[in-house]
């Protein structure tokens, strides 16, 4: 936009503000409108509800911060489910990134049949949850499952995986690796964006494959890694479906995820206010983590041409 300084001084502050911001705001207006229409109301509603008891039938009753104090001081299930969720997040998120990036790099090499291989690795993430749950329950079955069958050939008695309190959580982490196809596709898309001439220049300069990867590929992939890291954190704190279908929180509470407990409070015990309080607590935690990752962005995420 060609605005001379004189012109700038001559226009009113409002006009100036509009000129500087109108375009940007117009671009994000679809999201902004949707946010105001569909999101803000329910968000404030649920915050309000967290200070009430609400059973979906009668009008909410104000109880002040009681839900929060009970949660933080008198509810052992809150802490145990948070612990389970954090354990899951701390292991599955980095693991998922490692495996996802690794696979994407492999699938980006110039060998024939990549289309087939990429589809193969993408397939597990689109198997419907109910079918996937059944399949893994069979695979992890201590008596007739494949894993213990293979271990048996090495003369090892495998544990009972999903019903063993020591192994159940890690079985679920193991299972989450099959869902890496989603993030792998995003990494692949990111890899396509790396200009070929950079690699050519590097090869001319005498860089080997490993150096090309660590100096060009990985740094240029960091925006996508950043994205998957944040999504991974958010997703792991909401992990719910597999635990609900396969273990229902057992054995011995070792897979009682936070989101599962929240669901119970909301829909089984009809304690919506309490569940809302739980939701907003985890929201704050996830936001803090997200902001930390965001702040660290400058240090390791690479931008621009």
């Amino acid at each position: 936009m060609h605005i001379t300084t004189e012109a700038l001084h001559r226009t009113s502050p409002v006009r100036r503000w509009l000129r500087q911001n109108a375009t940007g705001l117009l671009f994000i207006s679809p999201w902004l409108l949707g946010f105001l229409a569909f999101t803000v109301g329910p968000f404030f509603s649920s915050v309000y509800l967290s200070f009430n008891t609400y059973d979906l039938v009668h009008a909410p009753k104000w109880v002040g911060p009681k839900n929060y104090t009970t949660l933080l001081q008198k509810d052992p299930l809150f802490w145990s489910s948070m612990g389970v969720t954090v354990k899951y997040a701390v292991v599955s998120v980095p693991l998922g990134i490692l495996v996802g990036v690794g696979l994407a790099l492999l699938l980006n090499t110039k060998v024939r049949g990549q289309a087939v291989f990429r589809t193969i690795f993408f397939m597990p993430s689109i198997v419907p949850t109910v079918a996937n749950a059944v399949v893994f329950m069979w695979i992890l079955n201590p008596e007739i499952g494949l894993i213990n069958g293979l271990l048996g050939m090495l003369n090892i008695t495998g544990p009972s995986w999903l019903t063993d309190p020591h192994w159940a959580l890690w079985s679920l982490v193991f299972m989450s690796l099959w869902g890496v196809g989603n993030s792998m596709v995003i990494y692949l898309a990111g890899l396509q964006d790396i200009p070929a001439h950079l690699y050519e220049a590097a090869t001319v300069d005498g860089a080997n494959a490993f150096q090309r990867m660590s100096r060009i590929t990985l740094p240029l992939l960091t925006p996508v890694i950043f994205f998957n890291l944040i999504m991974g954190i958010i997703g792991s704190f909401q992990y719910f479906t597999e635990a609900y279908v396969m273990t229902k929180g057992g054995p011995d509470g070792s897979t009682s995820f936070y989101a599962l407990y929240l669901f119970q409070r909301a829909w089984t015990y009809l304690d919506m206010g309490y569940a809302c309080a739980m939701a907003w607590i985890v929201f704050v935690i996830v936001m803090v983590l997200t902001v930390i990752v965001f702040r660290s962005r400058r240090r390791w995420v690479h931008f621009g041409g």
Binding site: T53, V57, K61, V63, I144, W267
Partner: protein, 447 residues
């Protein structure tokens, strides 16, 4: 310039596409009334899969039997039925009648989600209901003195014995165990292990504290109050703990996981994984369906010394009319038809087709039901059980879901040997009282 024209064209086409599709999808037509001039009655249930044709047939029979109402059945997946109903209730858009097998009667009654049927049925009908219905069905239908639901299919439990396995150790139908102790001894004789000592067959494995408690005189519902630590409950829990201790929980766990499926042609009774099983009445029909020539005996659970004979837990499917229902009269007419109240022949047929137990002796005597019993003679054991005085009902009240969860967790802990029966049940009572206190603090009903 060309690019811009092309872009504009694409935008226009896109807009047209959106409009066309929106027009196709938008208008919400009224519910699918096949017959004109009838009042619709919306009915939500979770009988999908192989049950659906049976249920749908019943709905059609009702629609054909009268011309005032038309019942429209909506199938909702069982796990989500409660969630969907609660959401609809929060918006005041409930169905007219709903069938749910989740233990929700107490909670939904307290929250005013469902209407007492007392207000919908005529005084004459109410009198007749109280007079003719089996006591156990009445107890299951009522909460705090009001009739809150009709029971549509009551689950009951008895002992199934695989005849061939028993023959191997010289036991026939006339010599079934008379006490629980004898049954356990018989079960242990029937265990089979392989060369490495792994269990290949377990004679008898007790599981499910809530179902087993009545045999020991235990109960979890004391006139509407939830209890968990009566002497009978304790005895039942010890019984489970002892069995798991005997076999070692890890071995039991692996064994039970190796079982194929809970239903279908490979269910444990047919596959022979257990010789003796304490299981529900639905197995009769399933065995007849998948392995009609399987020889087995069926008898009520023998009591332990000092226990109760002919005891069983009962678990109902509830037919309930939501408070926000628009057509309660029609819903009531349909409910009566479903369970066969004042319609014994229809009820007999409906119960027979689903493989369920009758709500009152009139239905049990109906020709249609007798025909069913002739086809599945073993079922009579359960029908006779309906009149036993030693039947119990599950916990009810605002904490019933919570209580059931805690009781099951306690059983798990005892089975694993991580807690003694006393400590586990004490913990349940403590958790119950803590939760009650929390609810009272919040001004919610707690009992």
């Amino acid at each position: 310039m060309e690019g811009s024209a092309l872009d504009k064209l694409k935008a226009v086409l896109g807009a047209i596409l959106v409009v066309v599709v929106a027009a196709y999808l938008l208008p919400p037509p009224p519910p699918e009334l096949h017959r004109k001039n009838r009042i619709p009655v919306i009915f939500w249930h979770a009988f999908s899969g192989e049950w659906f044709p049976i249920y749908d047939g019943m709905i059609q029979r009702f629609n054909e039997s009268q011309d005032k109402f038309e019942v429209i059945g909506v199938v909702v997946p069982g796990e989500e039925l409660t969630t969907k109903f609660l959401l609809s209730a929060s918006g005041g858009a409930t169905p007219d009648i709903i069938l749910n097998w989740d233990p929700v009667l107490g909670m939904w009654s307290d929250k005013g989600l469902i209407s007492p049927l007392d207000d919908i049925m005529s005084p004459a009908e109410k009198q007749e209901f109280l007079r003719r219905t089996y006591p156990i069905v009445k107890r299951n239908s009522m909460y705090r003195g009001k009739i809150m639901a009709l029971v549509d299919g009551l689950d009951m439990f008895a002992v199934y014995y695989r005849a061939e396995d028993l023959k191997d150790v010289g036991v026939d139908e006339k010599h079934l165990p008379a006490t629980l102790e004898d049954l356990v001894a018989l079960g242990r004789k029937l265990d089979k292990r392989d060369g490495q000592g792994h269990l290949r067959r377990i004679g008898f494995l007790p599981k499910g504290i809530i179902n087993l408690a009545p045999t020991f005189g235990g109960k979890f519902n004391d006139n509407g109050h939830i209890v968990a630590d009566t002497p009978g409950d304790l005895a039942a829990m010890s019984f489970i703990g002892d069995a798991n201790h005997f076999y070692s929980f890890d071995a039991v766990d692996r064994f039970t996981q190796s079982l194929a499926a809970d239903a279908g042609p490979n269910m444990p009774l047919i596959a022979g994984n257990f010789s003796i099983m304490f299981d529900g009445e639905w197995r009769v029909k399933q065995v007849a369906q998948y392995q009609p020539d399987l020889p087995y005996y069926l008898a009520p659970m023998p009591p332990p010394k000092g226990g109760k004979p002919n005891a069983s837990m009962s678990a109902p499917n509830y037919l309930m009319i939501p408070t926000a229902a628009k057509e309660k009269q029609g819903a009531w007419e349909f409910a009566k038809f479903c369970v066969g109240f004042l319609h014994p022949e229809d009820g007999g047929r409906n119960m027979g087709e689903m493989g369920w137990l009758p709500d009152d002796p009139e239905i049990a005597k109906a020709k249609s039901y007798l025909a069913y019993l002739r086809k599945y003679p073993k079922y009579k054991v359960f029908v006779d059980l309906m009149a036993s005085p030693n039947l119990e009902i599950e916990p009810q009240g605002p904490l019933q879901g919570f209580a059931t969860d805690q009781i099951n967790k306690a059983e798990d802990a005892v089975s694993r040997g991580e807690s003694t029966p006393e400590a586990a049940l004490q913990k349940v009572m403590q958790q119950l009282s803590d939760e009650k206190k929390r609810l009272r603090d919040l001004g919610e009903p707690a009992e």
